[in-house]
């Protein structure tokens, strides 16, 4: 049972790491572009709203956000340990709570975009 559970957590962690590796450079590049004041066509309200309204768009955004926050949460827990914070229970509760909040917010916002 413990092994089965670990496999799921490890699988999610690996999936999150792979996904962030592939997606985040492009995501950061888009924010970089926005910072310069250039808003590409696909990020104009009409278009991005249409994308986030479609079920495919919602699914993509949700999967990316869900896997990213859980992957980051797990890693931040280890980072805390690496920096000498030995209150693992507290740290785990904090980081996994942040991931849970991120997941719920992602689902909530995506469901309200119609």
């Amino acid at each position: 049972m413990a092994i089965a559970k670990k496999a799921v957590v490890w699988g999610l962690f690996a999936a999150g790491g792979t996904l962030t590796s592939f997606i985040f450079p492009a995501l950061i590049a888009l924010f970089l572009l926005i910072a310069t004041g250039i808003v590409p066509e696909g990020l104009q309200y009409e278009q991005i709203h249409a994308f986030a309204s479609s079920w495919l768009g919602k699914a993509c955004l949700f999967i990316v956000l869900f896997l990213s926050v859980w992957h980051a949460a797990h890693r931040l827990r280890v980072v805390a340990h690496d920096f000498g914070i030995r209150k693992d229970k507290l740290v785990a509760n904090a980081v996994y709570s942040i991931a849970a909040i991120g997941t719920v917010l992602a689902a909530f916002y995506l469901l309200t975009i119609n």
Binding site: F24, L27, I28, F31, L32, I34, L76, F83, Y109, T112
Partner: protein
């Protein structure tokens, strides 16, 4: 053997400073802050998008600054060199591909990841209307 063996004290907060490999490991792990930051920035964007066109435009305007430009540029480089590329380098070790008796050469897997990354990034930028 000594009854009271000497245990060299190791700092729990700065242990990684002793070794280059440890430093790189810590630098890699720190990218998780960026993942959290950009995930929540995207969530803020979604919150604005879910409210109204005005809020979306206000969000875009609020993100427009030289400070953020510099931050994003540094974050992009840092993320690529300490998350994306190391992750690709590790891929053949994490998921080796077997072809019957033979093993797919590591370089094929790594190059495959880079090709996929370029294609996926181009697709996202195309979807956003950048290219």
């Amino acid at each position: 053997m000594s009854r009271n063996p000497y245990v060299r004290p190791i700092s729990t907060t700065t242990w990684y400073m002793r070794n280059g490999r440890y430093k790189v490991y810590v630098l890699r792990e720190l990218t998780s802050f960026l993942v959290m930051f950009y995930s929540f920035l995207t969530l803020f964007a979604l919150a604005a998008l879910a409210t109204s066109a005005d809020r979306w435009n206000a969000f875009l305007a609020s993100q427009q600054s030289t400070a953020m430009l510099v931050f994003h540029a540094l974050a992009l480089l840092y993320f690529m060199f300490f998350q994306t590329f190391p992750w690709f380098k590790l891929a053949p070790k994490a998921m080796p591909v077997r072809l019957g008796e033979k093993k797919l050469p590591d370089n094929y897997i790594i190059i495959g990841h880079y090709v996929a990354w370029v294609v996926i990034s181009a697709f996202i930028l195309w979807l956003a209307g950048v290219i």
